[in-house]
């Protein structure tokens, strides 16, 4: 596959843009005529979900719709929060995401370093094997994985969510590529300075790999936080459900009240959105980097 090195992880992606050349007789750039409706269409679903979440049930079901509610019903959020164990959902999602991020950073770093720098018996064969797993979609292995997790006694537990996702091949490849690009002399210098392999990894290589580690962490966090299929399969009780599954359980109860459902939906999206807004540059860079490095 083509691997153009369009940007490096070390280079901030700031979308150095083309100057806009508007036709001379236009008072503004014609691109706005495209971008304003587009932005509206992209934001509308989110805005509408927030508006609905603040309406009464009756206002939510009016036609024509109540576009601007006369009063804001923040208590919808309280009702939504109390009707299902949302606290558990958040906690489970957080545990799931945090543990898989930590696991991937640690295990992928160790393995990626071994594959990048150490010549060890069978490394090529193992590496090819890992490559194979990267090509196989999750759906193919989902049933045996379920059975293995069941054997481990981890069905319906956050542990069952975490363990199979502690180390992804993607992370190993991502980090290995980056490690290979680091000057090997640094590590040789450290070896001569008396550092063990472990010390080299943790004191020299990883500090220099902050951008790619952040990328892996962000990608893994997003993935775990938004994961749905795997929790759907192994989690049966709401107390153990992560947020997305919890949200779908919420939706599943037949007294769908759009205002409450939207309140739950908005609540579930707030942490990720907040992180995104604060660390937008990192998110975008991570996506661009991994996308391009694929």
């Amino acid at each position: 596959m083509a691997t153009p090195t369009l940007i490096g992880a070390d280079r901030p992606l700031d979308f150095e843009a083309l100057p806009d050349k508007r036709p001379r007789h236009w008072p503004f750039s014609p691109w706005h005529l495209f971008l304003i409706p587009l932005s509206a269409a992209m934001l509308l679903p989110l805005v509408w979900s927030v508006i609905t979440s603040l309406e009464t049930s009756a206002d939510a079901q009016r036609f024509p719709p109540v576009l601007l509610p006369s009063s804001l019903h923040f208590e919808n959020y309280v009702h939504a929060w109390n009707s299902l164990p949302f606290g558990h959902f958040f906690l489970n999602s957080f545990l799931y995401a945090a543990a898989t991020v930590a696991g991937n950073l640690l295990f992928c770093s160790l393995a990626a370093y071994a594959f990048a720098r150490l010549r060890f018996f069978g490394s090529n064969l193992v590496f090819v094997l890992l490559l194979v797993t990267l090509m196989v979609p999750f759906q193919v292995v989902i049933i045996p994985t379920f059975l293995i997790v069941r054997k481990l006694g981890l069905i319906d537990s956050v542990g069952g969510l975490i363990v199979p996702n502690l180390c992804g091949v993607f992370g190993i490849f991502l980090l290995r590529q980056f490690f290979l690009s680091l000057p090997v002399q640094l590590e040789e210098a450290a070896r001569i300075d008396g550092a063990s392999r472990l010390a080299i990894l943790f004191k020299i290589v990883l500090p220099l790999s902050a951008p790619v580690l952040a990328t892996l962490a962000i990608i893994q966090f997003m993935w775990s936080w938004n994961d749905f299929l795997w929790p759907l399969i192994i989690i049966t009780t709401p107390q153990h459900a992560p947020l997305q599954l919890g949200l779908s359980m919420f939706q599943g109860s037949h007294v769908t009240q759009w205002n409450l459902l939207m309140a739950g939906t908005v609540m579930s999206q707030i942490p990720m959105l907040a992180v995104f807004l604060f660390a937008q540059r990192w998110f975008i860079q991570s996506i661009a980097y991994t996308g391009i490095k694929q």
């Binding site: 009756a58 079901q61 009707s83 319906d156 049966t236 709401p238 599943g252 007294v255 769908t256």
Partner: protein, 435 residues
């Protein structure tokens, strides 16, 4: 709050899965009861799964807390486990995963499916030995639904039936008089048409059209009222593709596609809310829905014409996690389903009394006045003279019928073609021996 409906397609397959559980779990689970017996001073922890939300969940929690306070040796944890529609699937998954609950709520229509699992505790002996339980206090229909080939597989948890619930304000506004027991189906259709005001998004009738059992049993009540039947009396052939079936489904289809008087909910999640918000004139539903309509002044009337209705009792099913926990579960469920506790639950939720003796409970009159219309549902129990076939294939047949009904309602097919196709599938299924 408990909708009587079967989950999605192919529960037959689930039944098969349940059968083979015998091989998988029989050796490890049921026989060996090594855990300490209750009364030895140790606390036995048991788990109960339910699908209750809102008032019902609150009532459950109050009762369970009351129990736990009074019975330190048996600790009950009640867990909301998502919609009841998926309870059978989840229970079977949990059994397969080796972590089943001790007590779970299951639709009555699943009795034939779940009873094949060796994990299910058959209650005949316990009931026979325990005079305090009084099995005959439950309505006859409930006892029948919990009994498969003579095996009692659960304790009735809830009973219900269908009647017309209507929005008085919308009737008044349309200048219509309220439904009467003398209504024909044509009266029903005409009223629905008159209640429909497209510009205001107002509909005469709301119908769940997700092709699930919920879609099917609403129509089955109509089918029976048209003097049709689901299967032949020997349960060997489809009978719904009769002239009566055609009539019943054609009427439903015409209301949907010609009159446009039906609010068709293909997700089956929105009708209650829409009725409560005053956009639907009539619903065919049971007492469990009444608390969802705080905003509506509603009336209740029996079904048109012959008043045939359908009853769907649901059960608490005890699963075997060792003798100690089975005993504890039995002790708890006995208390939980006793008249006093049941009356409390019904008072909170508007559910119908499961025990006949509840009518002697001091709260019964409060209950009737608190839930106007409930008295009609109690009386309507007498109109539930037929029951759905208690065969494991029923869930699969239900999916065939569900597709047929929805395709007619969405104008994809006419009633005769759709029913004939479903009948063909049903007959093919029933022809397979032992399936």
């Amino acid at each position: 709050m408990r909708r009587v409906a079967i989950g999605t397609v192919g529960l037959l397959a689930l039944a098969c899965a349940a059968v083979v559980l015998t091989a998988g779990c029989g050796s490890s689970g049921s026989g060996t009861a090594a855990s300490p017996s209750a009364g030895s001073g140790r606390v036995v922890n048991i788990t109960l799964w339910h699908g209750d939300t809102d008032y019902a969940a609150k009532a459950d929690n109050v009762l369970v807390a009351q129990w736990n306070k009074a019975n330190p040796d048996i600790h009950v944890t009640a867990l909301y486990n998502g919609s009841n529609d998926y309870a059978l699937q989840k229970t079977l998954t949990a059994i397969a995963g080796g972590k089943p609950p001790d007590i779970t709520y299951l639709y009555g229509s699943w009795a034939a499916n779940i009873v094949k699992s060796p994990k299910v505790v058959i209650l005949n002996d316990m009931i026979a030995k325990d005079s305090s339980f009084n099995w005959n206090d439950f309505w006859p229909a409930e006892r029948l639904a919990a009994t498969v080939n003579g095996k009692i597989m659960g304790v009735p948890a809830l009973v219900d039936n269908l009647a017309i619930v209507y929005n008085k304000k919308l009737f008044d506004r349309a200048g219509l008089s309220y439904p009467t027991a003398q209504w024909t189906w044509d009266d029903f259709r005409a009223a629905a048409k008159k209640l429909t005001i497209p510009a205001q998004k107002q509909f005469g009738w709301g119908y769940p059209a997700d092709a699930s059992e919920d879609t099917v049993w609403h129509w089955e009540a109509m089918l029976w009222d048209y003097n049709g039947d689901i299967l032949t009396p020997d349960n060997k052939q489809a009978a719904f593709n009769s002239a009566q079936g055609d009539q019943a489904l054609t009427m439903l289809g015409d209301m949907a596609t010609v009159d446009h008087s039906i609010y068709i909910d293909t997700t089956n999640t929105k009708i209650q809310q829409t009725f409560n918000n005053g956009h639907i004139g009539m619903m065919v539903t049971g007492p469990w829905d009444l608390p969802s309509f705080p905003n509506v002044k509603f009336g209740v009337q029996v079904m048109p014409a012959n008043h045939q209705t359908i009853s769907g009792p649901d059960n608490w099913v005890i699963l075997n996690n060792g003798a100690a926990r089975v005993n504890a579960s039995w002790t708890f469920i006995k208390w939980f389903t006793a008249a006093k506790q049941q009356m409390y639950y019904d008072l909170q939720t508007g559910a119908l009394p499961t025990r006949q003796s509840q009518q002697q409970q001091p709260d019964f009159q409060t209950y009737l006045s608190k839930y106007p219309g409930t008295d009609l549902f109690v009386k309507n129990m007498g109109n539930a003279v037929k029951s759905r076939p208690t065969i494991p294939q029923y869930s699969k047949i239900s999916t065939f019928l569900g597709q047929a009904i929805v395709s007619v309602m969405l104008g994809k097919s006419d009633a005769k073609t759709a029913l004939d196709q479903a009948a063909q599938q049903t007959n093919a299924l029933l022809a397979v021996p032992g399936s």
